[in-house]
């Protein structure tokens, strides 16, 4: 049975639609709810792939003879449920925040899973069906599947820059219908007529759907900042912008103004000027402050902990990493900094201040002393040849690859040991890095930041890191200073003066005495002083070890600055949760772990179901244990490498979004090429002497292992040398680096399917389902593993899994030979 070009395109189309839908759902649910719950719901929904494999394995004998009709029906159902499931799921009264208190929330959560699994079930079913139907051409089919997915990944990111998420949802549904039209086109006349009808429907859906189905606003969680701001009388959204980086809403509240000034000293008496609230994904408020040239109106900013460095430095040249609404630029202007470079990640946020609301913001970005750069912070610091007197990192709304729709848990390359060393290198002698964080109790992030700074200084060869660090706190924020050089007595005098005038507490400075530490904003113990002193002392390791939250330094290999979870202390926190410790539970980690457990249990059920239901007949005498290990290992390993490489390339490509789009698309497309080449490699290897221990699978696995290990050593210096290249050149270099690895990675799956087809074609959908389940588990597991052992180890484990897969596949199964294929 030869597969038609139209069917191949139909597979590519549905593949693109599924991948785009996955990225899009992450976007949509991040706006409606919170990132980590969105992640959990989508991960579980992706098990629809596994479920489709199981159902196909059981029902393929009835479905395969009506391939075109079933494929088209599934495509239509994909399109319907892609919109329908989402529109119903966003209407469920699920309140993620109440999950600690209210068991009913689990019911709503389960219902979300049940709804959202449907589009992935139908979409996955279509691909599995095609694999079973045309198993003799699995290389080509899988190539179209992967290349389609790659185009979907890249396409959706591009489209999200132009269209709103809801308009993009219509396109995804339309693409599903288009896939149905494609598969019907070459069939009989009646089918061709229906193909025209379905294509017309696709066009209609792409252009219009009842707005009530997809309107997000009424369904945004009432507990998110945007929803709360809009409850205030006369508050209204005056502008909305959407990109894959986030959904930005500008809110005006004329009657009861925003007065955003986190952690302002109680000694301040100046009311902040009028502001516009800027919300990203309906949360993370930042403010554009009205500025009419009167610096005195900005005096309140001098009563925040972030103002400290300006009192220790004279006329500093400043770099602000994370400009947001421009608050830190205003602070620098207030202190008459002669040079201000402001870096912002999100072009929408930058344009709001630079263009749309430039008049309101007093044209701060047009001032001669201010230069604005659109870049990721870390990557800017690596590229710039400049040196600064002050590098200021204000309270950031967190952003990682996560926000762009990949499946990870808020990694941050801003607060790692390597990042601190990068900042240090860009400081003039005597210059300072200033980082402000929220003050949380019991202390977590502030101490982790301090530990990270100490390690960075030690690694930079500083003999006494304590001489170069200062930590102060208000009732709500903490600011760390790291100086390129030792603090002088004059600076320390200025520090004390600054803190006393604002009732800020000194938590650490070289020479601090215990009694100075806990004076104005009194804690039960001087926790921050104790922590900082311990982290500089000889028993720092013991202190980190004995601390009940993970406060060890974050690194580029384990960039989970915001993860503080320790298993050992979970029982204590759970016991205390109703007394007020609920906020100390690290929900991000727990949700990730809960997702893994759910995915593992459901996968096991899906994988074992066909074996249990059709115990006698399923797959005949084919080696099912080995087959399942093979496809499980491949699914895990492919995603492990893909996810680790997205992380690796973030710093090089300079933007989490570029990394996601380029790396994901690169892996999928070149794996598609590999898949298309696989049959050739197989034929070439089978022509060789039969006694050779090498077959195509083993050659591919050796290729993967060799390249992955080579890259562990090659990439860091290569990235260092090439980081200043223009973006397009870096993208090209990235794709060239990914190509050989991905090409080999695309081979084992189709080679394995081809072999399974020889023994028992029954097993093909089952293998497809296993691979689907493994992919879901892998995405979650990769993050958990990276939190504990780092991304380098994740790659090493992936290589091990590829080798395990190669060993699991018995060589005595005949190799592929299309000429005598039973189909």
């Amino acid at each position: 049975m030869t597969v038609s070009r139209a069917t191949l395109l139909a597979v590519a189309a549905i593949s693109a639609a599924i991948l785009a839908y996955q990225v899009l759902l992450m976007r949509l649910f991040s706006i409606l709810s919170w990132h980590h719950f969105a992640y959990m719901i989508i991960s579980i929904a992706l098990l629809g792939f596994g479920a489709s494999g199981t159902v196909l394995a059981l029902a393929q004998h009835r479905l395969l003879p009506r391939f075109a009709a079933v494929f088209a029906a599934c495509a239509a159902l994909f399109a319907i449920t892609a919109v329908g499931s989402f529109t119903l799921a966003m209407r469920l009264p699920f309140n993620a925040l109440a999950i600690v208190w209210d068991a009913r929330q689990l019911l709503w959560l389960t219902l979300s899973y049940a709804l959202l699994v449907l589009p992935f079930f139908f979409g996955g079913g279509m691909i599995g069906l095609a694999f079973s139907r045309f198993s003799n051409e699995i290389g080509r089919l899988y190539a179209y599947d992967l290349i389609g997915a790659g185009i979907g990944a890249l396409g959706v990111v591009g489209i999200l820059f132009v269209l709103s998420p809801t308009a993009t949802l219509r396109l995804v549904a339309a693409l599903g219908l288009l896939s149905a039209a494609l598969v019907l086109a070459p069939a009989a006349r009646i089918a061709r007529a229906s193909a025209v009808g379905v294509a017309a429907a696709a066009l209609l859906v792409a252009l219009w759907l009842p707005p009530a189905l997809t309107t997000l606003h009424p369904h945004i969680s009432q507990y998110k900042g945007l929803a709360m701001a809009l409850r205030v009388p006369d508050a209204r959204v005056i502008e909305e912008r959407s990109s894959p980086l986030g959904f930005v809403s500008v809110v005006e509240s004329p009657t009861i103004p925003f007065r955003h000034a986190p952690g302002l000293s109680l000694n301040n008496i100046t009311e902040p000027p009028l502001q516009l609230g800027v919300f990203t994904d309906a949360e993370s408020i930042s403010a554009i402050t009205r500025f009419e040239g009167d610096l005195q109106a900005l005096r309140y900013l001098d009563f925040t902990t972030s103002a400290l460095p300006y009192h220790l430095l004279d006329d500093p040249e400043v770099l602000i990493l994370g400009a947001g609404g421009g608050e830190q630029v205003l602070l620098a202007l207030y202190h008459e900094a002669p040079e201000i470079d402001a870096v912002e990640l999100n072009p929408d946020v930058m344009e709001l201040v630079a263009d749309d609301y430039a008049d309101f913001a007093g044209g701060i970005y047009d001032r001669p002393e201010v230069d604005v750069y659109l870049s990721e912070a870390r990557s800017f610091v690596r590229r710039t040849p400049e040196r600064y007197d002050l590098i200021q990192i204000p309270l950031l709304y967190s952003f990682g690859a996560a926000a762009a729709g990949t499946q990870s848990l808020h990694e941050s390359y801003t607060y790692t040991v390597e990042a601190m060393r990068d900042y240090l290198r860009r400081l003039e002698p005597g210059g300072m890095l200033s980082i402000t964080l929220w003050l949380k109790l019991p202390p977590r992030d502030t101490l982790k930041l301090f530990a990270t700074a100490v390690e960075a200084l030690e690694e930079s060869g500083v003999a006494d890191p304590g001489e170069q660090l200062v930590l102060i706190r208000s009732w709500k924020t903490a600011t760390l200073l790291m100086k390129n050089g030792a603090f002088t007595p004059a600076e320390i005098a200025a520090l004390k003066n600054f803190a006393a005038g604002r009732s800020f507490d000194l938590a650490y400075y070289p020479g601090i005495r215990a009694e100075e530490a806990n004076r104005y904003n009194i804690l039960e113990r001087p926790y921050f002083f104790e922590g900082a002193t311990a982290l500089l002392g000889p028993n720092a390791k013991d202190y980190i070890e004995g601390y009940k939250f993970a406060i060890g330094p974050a690194s580029d290999d384990q960039p989970y600055f915001y993860d503080f979870f320790k298993w050992r202390f979970l029982p204590e926190l759970l016991r205390l949760r109703t007394q007020g410790a609920a906020a100390m539970l690290d929900m991000g980690y727990l949700i990730l772990f809960a997702t893994l457990v759910q995915a593992a249990i459901l996968s096991l059920v899906l994988i074992l179901a066909p074996l249990a239901i059709r115990r006698k007949t399923f797959g005949g005498t084919a080696p099912k244990a080995r087959t399942s290990v093979y496809f499980l290992a491949l699914g895990l390993a492919f995603l492990f490498i893909e996810i680790a490489y997205i992380q690796r390339f973030i710093l090089f490509l300079g933007h989490p979004l570029y990394a996601v789009a380029v790396v994901l698309a690169g892996f999928l497309i070149f794996a598609g090429v590999g898949s298309a080449l696989a049959p050739r490699l197989d034929r070439a290897m089978s022509r060789r002497d039969g006694s050779s221990p090498l077959d195509a699978v083993r050659v591919a696995v050796l290729g993967i292992g060799a390249i992955a290990i080579l890259y562990m050593f090659l990439l860091p210096p290569l990235f260092g040398a090439l980081i200043t290249l223009p973006d397009m050149a870096k993208i090209a270099v990235s794709l060239m680096l990914i190509a050989p690895l991905a090409c080999f990675m695309g081979m084992p799956f189709p080679l394995g399917i081809a072999r399974v087809a020889r023994v028992s074609a029954d097993l093909i959908p089952w293998a497809w389902g296993i691979n689907g389940c493994a992919s879901v588990i892998a995405a979650i597991l990769a993050t958990l593993l990276a939190i504990h052992i780092g991304f380098t180890a994740v790659v090493a484990i992936a290589v091990g899994l590829y080798f395990a897969a190669a060993l699991a596949l018995e060589r005595r199964i005949p190799v592929l030979n299309p000429a005598d294929d039973p189909a």
Binding site: N95, R231, P233, K476, S503, E524, G580
Partner: protein, 243 residues
């Protein structure tokens, strides 16, 4: 013919029985809630002296029908020691936290108390029997109106509510002996500090809608100076002693 018919009498009697049974039921639930609060308080000596909450606070909470302040669909949980949603993105705090915050305010008879963020109105109700007068400001009109009605219906005559911007406090009635700020704010409005009497106390819970993470106590010294204290509602030492 005068007086109720036998049928009507029976209906009225049954209603009265049901109502009193309901009231009785809630009395038991309230008593159980107070037990839970006291137990939590004993375990959090950091925030409370001797682990003992002011008996007057507990007495107020024992009497006030908390279920009247929550929406019908969560009424069944009104006396459980947990926060509940009240609509409009707001919650009614966990009873233990309400008790703790009220205790920290140190309200004595004759005091004037200001509340920023009326929410459900329950906190104002708990303050009502302890203080001379309670002034409460809500920013969300729907919430403020509902809370005002409930407080009126239940006859909390010394509570006055208004819908306004809490930033400027209630200057006409200032100064206050105690201020409680339950509405999330990025900073403490200077007018509120100004409207606090020397020797007065202000309490601010810091944290998300379903998780009071820490409580901030602002004390205005007799000389007008201000100190703040951060209290965890729970006894928790974040480190273990190194061996």
């Amino acid at each position: 013919m005068s007086g109720p018919t036998p049928l009507a009498a029976a209906v009225i009697a049954a209603l009265a029985l049901t109502t009193s049974a309901l009231a009785q039921e809630f009395t038991d639930e309230r008593a159980a809630m107070i037990d839970t609060i006291e137990e939590h308080a004993r375990l959090a000596p950091g925030a409370i002296e001797d682990g003992q909450l002011d008996p007057a606070v507990l007495q107020a909470m024992r009497e006030i029908p908390r279920h009247e302040f929550v929406p019908e669909d969560v009424r069944a949980y009104a006396y459980q020691d947990r926060p509940l949603p009240i609509g409009y993105g707001q919650t009614i705090s966990q009873p233990f936290i309400v008790a703790l915050m009220t205790d920290l305010l140190d309200v004595v008879p004759g005091d004037k108390v200001l509340e920023i963020g009326t929410g459900s109105g329950y906190q104002a109700a708990v303050l009502s029997p302890l203080a001379e007068r309670v002034y409460s400001i809500e920013i969300v009109p729907e919430l403020g109106q509902r809370a005002g009605e409930v407080l009126d219906e239940l006859d909390f005559a010394n509570v006055e509510t208004k819908i306004a911007d809490g930033y400027y406090g209630w200057p006409e009635e200032a100064p206050f002996d105690a201020i409680v700020v339950t509405a999330a704010a990025s900073h403490i409005p200077p007018p509120l500090v100004e409207q606090l009497k020397p020797g007065g106390r202000m309490v601010i819970p810091i944290g998300g809608p379903f998780s009071a993470q820490q409580l901030m106590l602002v004390e205005k010294l007799p000389d007008g100076g201000v100190t703040t204290r951060q209290l965890l509602p729970v006894q928790f030492v974040p480190f273990t002693r190194a061996q």
